[in-house]
Every structure is written in C-alpha cells, then in structure tokens.
Amino acid sequence: MLQEADFALSQNSGELSIDEEDEKIQFQSGDISGEFNKKRGSFSYYKKGDTRIGRLPEPYFWRAPTDNDFGNHMPSNLGVWRTAHVNKSLEEVVVGEQSKEGLPITVKYMLKDIGVPYTLAYLIRNDGSIQVTSSIDMSGKTLPELPRFGMRMTLPGQFDQVSYYGRGPEENYSDRKTASFLGIWEHKASEQKMPYIRPQEYGNHTDTRWVKLFNESEESLVITGLQPFDFSALNIRAEDMDPGLTKKQQHPTDLSYSNDITLHIDLLQRGLGGDTSWGAYPHRPYRLHDEKYSYSFVITIESDKK
C-alpha cells in the first residue's frame, strides 16, 4: 500500500426532516426514510423507495469455534461471550439536538450477564444515512478475551450480490491475510458454503472499506467504515455452526443454510492461530484483550448501479 486512505467520510448534503411523535422519531431525507423507537431504543425500519430494512445491526461477540478454538478451549474459556449480547437491558436513550451533522441518538445498554456497559451512538445524517458507533467498556472487569467485537444484522436473501472494497477474494483473517489483496471484489452470499470438514467459522474479510449488498432491483445496502472493518455475509448464523462445548460429529451436510443473509460488521475478530490445534492461542496481536473497543460505520441504501 502506498498511502493510507483518509477514512473520514465527507458529509453529504441533503435535507433531513425529523418528525417526533410520542416514542417514534420519523426521519426523511430525499427518498430515504426511517423510524426510531425511543422506547425500544432501536430503529423500526429504514428504507429507500421499495427497499426496506427491518432492523439495524445489533451487537454480537461470538464465533462458531474453529478447530484451533476447540484446541485452546475457547468454547468454555470464552463462553461468556456466546450469549453476552442476548441479555441486555436498555438503560437510557438520549436524543440530542439536531445539528448541521444530523440528529444524534445515544442508546445505552447494560450487558447484564457480564455487567458491562455497551453504547450505540447513532447519527442520522442529513443525507439520510445512519452513522453507528458501537462502544464497549470493560474497565474493572475480569473478562476473557473477545472472540469478536462487532455487530450483525439479518437481511432478506434477495440481497445476495455482494460487492466490497477490502481483502479478498478468499476469506481472510487478521493473522491470515497476506495473500488476500485489497480490491473491489464480488461474490454471491448464497455461494459462500462452509468449506471445512467440520462446521466452523468461515467467510470473513478483513480491512474492508465498504461493502454493498445488492438486491434484485439493484439497490444496495451500503456499509462504509470510519475505519477498516471485517465483514462476512453468509446464509448461515454462527449459532447454526456452533456445536457447543464439545464437537458433535457434525458435517457440512448437517448445516441448513437459510435464505436470509447474516451480515457481520466487526471491528475485529480473533485470529485463527495454527501453531498447534491442541492448545496454542492465536498470537497476541491477533487477540482482543483491550478493555475498551469502539468503532463506527455508516449505513445507507443506494440505488446507483454497481
């Protein structure tokens, strides 16, 4: 790489209109519109024309254990992260003042199983895009390393055509990416099948600048990082490839691929390791041991062709 890009996104022009009524915040900019529910602390929908997204990304920290993960007892040692995203209480929703950047909404959660605060800071921008900043603060807690720090969302299967600017075309991970060159790559989510003899994590792409998922009307959901991010877009969820604390004699034929697409947008995922498969950890630079993590990306729907 000759030069690192500047990832700060230029603020687009656009007229953002806000309509606040009881717990609902309706917003519109051009033909993009959406609704945020203050009581639930989440978006009820987000759409452009006929292209409509139900839910925005939600926190997720787990991955289907690889063979090396089993070797170093990740399924039990890191097990608290398997469901840490589930049992979260909504602590506070703060709707800020609309400024020239847009409308800020901050949603504070408590991940109750581990007693850790987790914050989603949204900025509904003037062009109708939504900037998401996800932050976790584990200060003062004794917690195992994170398998991943990220979010995921479910999209209807019609968003099958994936285009991204990042490392590809083969799957790659923080510690196995030197052969995956930066570029604009394309594939179909439905063609990404689990390639290993025993179901496990697969399909990740590191150093992603943006990813677009096109539907049949050639509109795309676009995720643009404010820093490089990892993504995968698969017709299967981690839960469906996770046998639990022990391996369960599973094979690729035991997987049922959904029509829906699970899109992961992660700041980082644990490396793969490989020094051994009977105890060795991924090397330290490829593990998530920090007390705090935070990252940002912008979601929008575009109708321009690929």
């Binding site: 790489m1 000759l2 030069q3 690192e4 890009a5 500047d6 690889t66 063979d67 090396n68 070797g71 600017y165 083969e170 799957e171 790659n172 991970y173 510690d175 196995r176 990416k177 030197t178 052969a179 995956s180 060159f181 930066l182 570029g183 604009i184 390639p195 290993y196 003899i197 025993r198 496990q200 994590e201 697969y202 600048r209 391996k247 004699q249 094979h251 690729p252 034929t253 035991d254 490396g271 793969l272 390791g273 490989g274 020094d275 051994t276 498969s277 060795a280 991924p282 090397h283 490829y286």
Partner: protein, 718 residues
Amino acid sequence: MSKKITSFLIALVLCLPLLGQNEWENPKVFERNKEAGHVDFIAYEEAAAARKDDFGASSNFLSLNGTWKFNYLDKPADRPMDFFKGSFDDSSWDQIKVPSNWEIEGFGLPIYTNVTYPFPKNPPFLDNDYNPVGTYRRTFEVPADWQDKAVILNLSSVSGYARIYVNGEEAGMTKVAKSPSEFDVTPFLKKGENVIAIQIFRWHDGSYLEDQDFWRLSGLEQDVYLYALPKVTVWDFFLKAGLDAQYQNGVFSANIDLRSFDDQVDQAGKIKVEVLPVGSSKAVFSEEKSFSSLNDAINFSSNIPDVAKWSAETPNLYDCVITLMDAKGKTTMVTSEQIGFRTVEIKDSQLMVNGMPILVKGVNLHIHDDVLGHVPTREMMMKDIRLMKQNNINAVRTSHYPQNPLWYKLCDQYGLYLVDEANIETHAMGATNQGWFNKEVHPAYLPEWAPAHMDRIQRLVERDKNHPSVIIWSLGNECGNGQVFYDGYDWIKERDETRLVQFEQATENRNTDIVCPMYPSLHHMKSYAEDSEKERPFIMCEYSHAMGNSNGNFQEYWDIIMSSPKMQGGFIWDWVDQGLKAEDENGTYWAYGGDLGGLNFQHDENFCANGLVSANRTPHPGLVEVKKVYQNVLFSWDQKSKELSIENLFDFTSLSDYQFTWELYKNGELQTSSSFTVNTAPHAVEKQKIKLPKLKGEDEYYLNVFVRTQSATEMIPA
C-alpha cells in the same frame, strides 16, 4: 536356597509368554523367507522398453491385481485354518478387489485414531477377541516363457501380519506395511492353474510400530504382482550421481549386485552400464565389464563433464540402462532407472543442494484417497504434485512411512525434494519431548524389538536409494530415541554418504544431521536462529497445523526463517484432509473419526483432517496464504527512489523466464498497469524503476506486483 527358588520362579514367569506364543505377538519374528530390501525394478528384453519403464509392458511382469476371493472374520480363533490348500473350497466366500483396504470395501470398521492404539496397550500382545482376519485367495497361470526364470512375488504394501501360500506351500510371512514384501516363489509354481492364498491379521506386534496418526486400514493395499528374472540376474544397484567440487561435472558410480537363483547356471557374464539423457540416444557414459563369478564386485565410475543438474527447480534426469549378458554376450535382461546429478550436504550450518542453500517450502503427505483409503493411484499423485507445484511447495516429507514407488519417480520427474521416512511410529508408548514414558516397555529401548526397527530403516533406504528427489532420510516419527535409532543413523551414514539423515526424536543429539523439531514456538525458533553455536540447519518436520480454518501467523514463521541462514523452512502439517467419502440422507460428506460406525470405538474426531486441501484435493482457503508466503520472488517498495526491489529466492532459476506485471489501484479500481521482465540471477536482488502517475493525497493507492510463468509446463500453466 531361597534365592535359587526365586530365580527359578522368575525364569518360569519370563518363559510363560513364550510358551505357545502367537507368531503375530512376537517382535523377534517379523518375517520369514522374505527378500531383503532392494531397488524395485522389472527386467525387460531390450533397452528401449526398459527406458519407458512401463512394468505392464514387460513380458516379465504379471499383475495379480483384480478380483480375489475373500473371507473376513472378527477374531483369529474363528479364522479358516486350511485356507492355503489347493483343494480348499472358497466358493461361498465373498469377493474383494486388490488393491484395496478391506474396511473401505465393507469388511470391518475403519478406525481413525491418532496416538491411542486401537487395541489395549500391552506390547507385543493384542486383544485377540477383536483382531479381524482377512483371507484372500485367487488363481493365476504362469506365462509359459517363465519356465527357466526365477519368479518373485511382490506385495507392494500389506497392512497387517500376512502369511503367504502358493499351491499349498508357505512362501513366507511379513509384518511390515508400506515397504514391499517379496518372496521367491519359483519352487512353488507349476504349469497351469496356481493358487495363491494370503491370510492377514489386522493387528500384530508390528502394529505397535505403525501407530501413525491416520485411519487404521488393512489388507493388500497396493499392487500385487509377479515378476520374472533370469536365473542369474541383476538384483540390486546403487547408482550415485553426484557433482564435483565445482558443482559442474557429474560424478557417477554404479555398484551392481548380481544374484543367482540356480548354481547350475553359468555364473560368468558381462554387464553394461549406460547413462543417457532422458529422450536421447546419445550416451554420456557407457562401459561394459565381464565377471566370472557372482562374488566379483561390479563397480562402475566416471566423471561426466557438464551434466544437466537435478534439483526440484530443474529436474533434469538421465536414464541409467543396465544390460546383463551371458558369457557369450547374449542379453539376458535389461533394466533402467532414472538418475539425477545433484549433491546434498551441510556447509556453513546450511542444507545445500548443488552448493546452494535451499529453502524447504514443504508439506507432510499421507497416502490418502477419499474413496480408496490408503490405495495410491497415479491420478491422485499427479493431482497432488500439480497442486503443490502451482502453490510454490517444493518439498514433501513422506509422513510417516515410505510412499508408493511411483511417487518417487514422479517427484524425480517433476521436481520435489523428499524427506523419505521409515515406517516407524510408536507414539502411544511415548515420544521424546512429549512427557515421561516408561523406557522399560517402550520398543525403541528394548533389544528384542531392535531388529524389527532396523529392518524398517533398511527397507526404506534399499528401495529408494537411487531417487534424486530423496535428499534426506528420516528414521521415523514420534517413536522415542533408543539405541536402535543411533544404530540406524550409523547404518545409513555408512550405507549412503550422498544424503543426510534427520530424526525429530533425536532433538539435538548426535543421530540427526538436521535439527527438525515439530511445532516449535516462535520464541524457540528465534533463539536457535540467533545462537551462533548451533551448527545444524533448522528445518521443522511439522509446523503450521492446518486443521480446519487455520494457518494463521504463517508469515511470522517465515520472517524468522528469512532472518538467519541456518533457518531453512519446514513442512506444514499437512497436505490433505484424511476424509472418507460417505453419504447419508442429507447428502455426501467426508467422514472422520467416530463416523462410519466408529463412534463407540477409540477415535480422535476430525483430527485426521488437517489438510491444506480437502480429501478430494479441493484447496482450502488457507492454501493461497501458503502460496503467497512460499513465493520465490519477494518485492519491496522504496517510496523515495520509486524503486521496486526484486529478490529472487529461487536457487537455480533466473527470473528471465517470468513475466512481471505491476498494477496501480486507486480506491480499489485499477488505474494503470504495466509489464516488464528482469534477468535477476538466483539469490540476487535487483531494483526496478517504476514510473507511477502522480498520486493524490486524498485517495488510497496500492501497488500489486505479480510474477507469472511465461511458458506453460506440464504442471504449471502460463
């Protein structure tokens, strides 16, 4: 008095196991009437046929592959006892194809276990309540023109304890898989229909030495054939094709062993040795010698100027044609073996081939076919070699036993360096660096097991000693380091001074020329790299365990390897997933340990699937990382001088035959590209100016540089 009684009792106790001891539970008796190891070859009528090396085309070759009658039972007590008799009625028996593994063909259970033996550990004993017995029978006719010839039966690999009978007579017994078992069957053959009967026990004392991390499969798993030789014949030959001190001229020698199967035949004759480039009729060496008795040492030697050298990058081969004539000069047999001129040595703490320190970009290879089990085929070998060559892999460790003979010929031809390993693994009894174990029961430390060990080491060397691709012998894997491995090391060094010996279990003791640990930590590697007292090359026999989604931090290994001349690479564990093709109501999948009915038996789950490629050789995503890190051309960019630095890591190949392309990307889009060529010599670095357009600060740019073969070879497309 009391002392006497005690010693008498001890003697009695010690003798008890020997009374009525089963032959398959006695390590001292590991063969009977079995030929010693020697070069595998077939006799031809004339040189042109010999040089084509097509066994099947020789009138001296009769394949016994095909359909045999077969009987399977779970325990020795139930086995048919008179199976070997000509009159035995096998009409109710099943049929089985040969070669095959009987568990794959539906007889008994395929078991995958890594370390733990699939039987209760109590060497040399087995659990004979479950020790399946397969009995094979078939008939054949001996070609009429074999009447005055000696006939050898070759079982290329028998997995199990096998007794072999021809026409009711015992031809011999073997307990060693993966190396050929040969028996002189001349006296047993008759005109017309002959019956061969082979009874194989799945487990035996030798199974304690075959504790490899693989599917435990049995039977006649490689070719079975007869071959005929003249009664006075060439039996073995050690062809040494080295280089002089300048690595320029060939230094050739041939030591030929003759053998007589009949003392009545005239023992005098002539022998001619020719060396010709493959495909050429112009000999670079030709000499004829007479002998008057078989005790004469028959040695040829010569310097051959300006030979085309062999290396994995330049697999230049010569045919060495050996012609035997009787005293009157009439040709009685011709055979031919391909040789390659090269040297292997350690200099300056480095492994050198032809005077160049090489990098070992290796993988470990088990014999595995997702449909056939342990049956090797040419198609699968070619698939493997092609994929390896296309992914910058230049070396294979034949983990953990000799491969099929064809493998070596193909590696000679296409160019791969081999560590050829003896069929010894005693893992469950204990291994060096893997915790305490009891040396009082470990076979590697017990004299009664020593001959069986030495036999496996000698068979490895004697069969494969003429292959240029074999640059290093390995004494075995995870088997302890008892006295027998010092003796084995010394024996090989005495027998073959043209190669090196490695032994992981020796760690840094004297019986290894290479320090070849498995799975060392990066910390250990760094300290070895920086230690100037270390005088042996460091080449990992296993590293980067490729199980499932793996091979992380592979570049980090190579950063250390590239930091010190004596760090020379390693062999990834391993090449191919050992999955067996299976089917259930959901579709086709590859079975692993615990599948195929093995769930309640000892098994080690999917630990058999550690490959860079899946069981049918579909690459796993990690293979591209290996290809990148194993690349033979390194690039770096100097932003100041706008120069691309090109380092040629090839040892014998200039970069002039390659096409270079650089591509400049702006925000992920190709902006401009250009091609160029360079003539960088092996191990040299060259700077190449590249004229880039003006780069704008707000955009992201990157430069990709590709190097591609310009002209296609059989293994690598352009």
